[in-house]
Symmetry: C2
Subunit: 255 residues, 2 copies
Amino acid sequence: MSGRDSGDSAAVTRSPSPDLPGAQLHDLPVFAGLPHELIERLIERSISRTYPAGAMILEQGEPAPPLQIVRRGIVDLTHVSGKSECGVLLLSARDLLLPATTLFHEPALVSARALTNTRMLAIDGEAVAAALVESPVFAANLMKAMSGHWRMAVRNILDLNCRTAAQRVGAFLLRIADLQPDGSAPVLPIAKRHLAVRLGMTAETLSRMLQTVANHGLHLRGRTIVIRDRTAIETFCGPDPYPVRDEHSLDVFAL
Amino acid sequence: MSGRDSGDSAAVTRSPSPDLPGAQLHDLPVFAGLPHELIERLIERSISRTYPAGAMILEQGEPAPPLQIVRRGIVDLTHVSGKSECGVLLLSARDLLLPATTLFHEPALVSARALTNTRMLAIDGEAVAAALVESPVFAANLMKAMSGHWRMAVRNILDLNCRTAAQRVGAFLLRIADLQPDGSAPVLPIAKRHLAVRLGMTAETLSRMLQTVANHGLHLRGRTIVIRDRTAIETFCGPDPYPVRDEHSLDVFAL
DNA sequence: CGCATAATTGATTCAGCTCAAACCGAGTGG
DNA sequence: CCACTCGGTTTGAGCTGAATCAATTATGCG
């Protein structure tokens, strides 16, 4: 929220330096149901890092020893080969960054880049491993997140070859709007260019498709999403192929 | 059953009925590193089922209470909407069937269908849950498999929007060939039509692309894959976008 | 043998990409 | 205050990869 993220949200976390636990850390879904002292131990073995918009968080090909969690901002997972980028997923607050890559020390298939100012929590890999053997609940939490990621990936695959570009755009914006805290006017949190990559199309095509979508009841004024005719846009976006949108119950908040 | 996969493998499992443990069950990767008695307990709470080619194993939309493992055959994960199918992944022996869906009781996004005669092992969901809290190793094994699935999904996403249809065909056949036990001539285990679905293209396109690929050093005589010019086909299939093919180390054998 | 299903081939169409140019808003500096 | 970049967005024209539709040939399979 906030203009182009002016002071407010920054002020919350603006603190002497990284590791300020802050009560809200305990409420991260990864920690749900864990004994308090275990959470403390994990947080002690973690550091917070902030990345300015555009900064690389993780380069594809390298493994990611510590377990990283998005505390604030939007993180873009894309594969870069040559000059063509290929987006896979956007993470937002509370999401885990490539847990699979982390846990099994495999090279990441995608790079992670901050699209907005981003704050990450990085928990030491060994502490995580220790916690895993000790706490089945923690293990379950991680699995849950991984399930959610799988689910998102499958949706993406389906979208890519069952839906048209315009439908993808529409569905994505609709989703964004619905995820946004209901009171405020829903707003597109990232640049169009990045949205295009995420949706697997060029910036030009996105531009055109936005017009198409506008003709079906969903406008984009500036960065605010205006749903003018809900049912129209929903039917346009296709036989909404899959069951309910319950990735949240899997502790996944990705876009 | 046992159409063209004649007696050999069928003979091994041809038995009065389902739950015949059989030594090889203990060697499933999901059980790796588990105490022997835990394996026994899980196997006791499981049943084997066989499906003829073409049979539905799991319908999209329904959750999948028991944890299922492919013992033999090829299982196709596709989403069906209307008359258009959209393939996501092919599972083969030793792969877990939608573990995420199983563990968290969410409706599956895709249907699972046997493409060849298939034998599944279904472990009771509660037994699995119990084993999970008891054995961190078991939990780790499941996570490993889920990591592998995520990896495959990401590859698929990348393929779909960074590679041409011909490149996908080439890369897939190359992969199949490499995975096959090296002695024998590599063979395509499924019908072309299903391959087309898996690769996100129509059967017609697949047919044409096979010709294209043939001009670049990879022929398909009948169902046997003939690699005539390895380097040529490899360079043709594109800047092989991702690191090594190490999904096997993640206990994933999907195609 | 003959029917049904799979695979090919050809002709046509269309969604989305590429390339190129115009446009626009925000800094920047004179 | 205005001119001037400079990145991002839009618009346009043309091209192309793959889908579609339709017809034909192969391949089982009962």
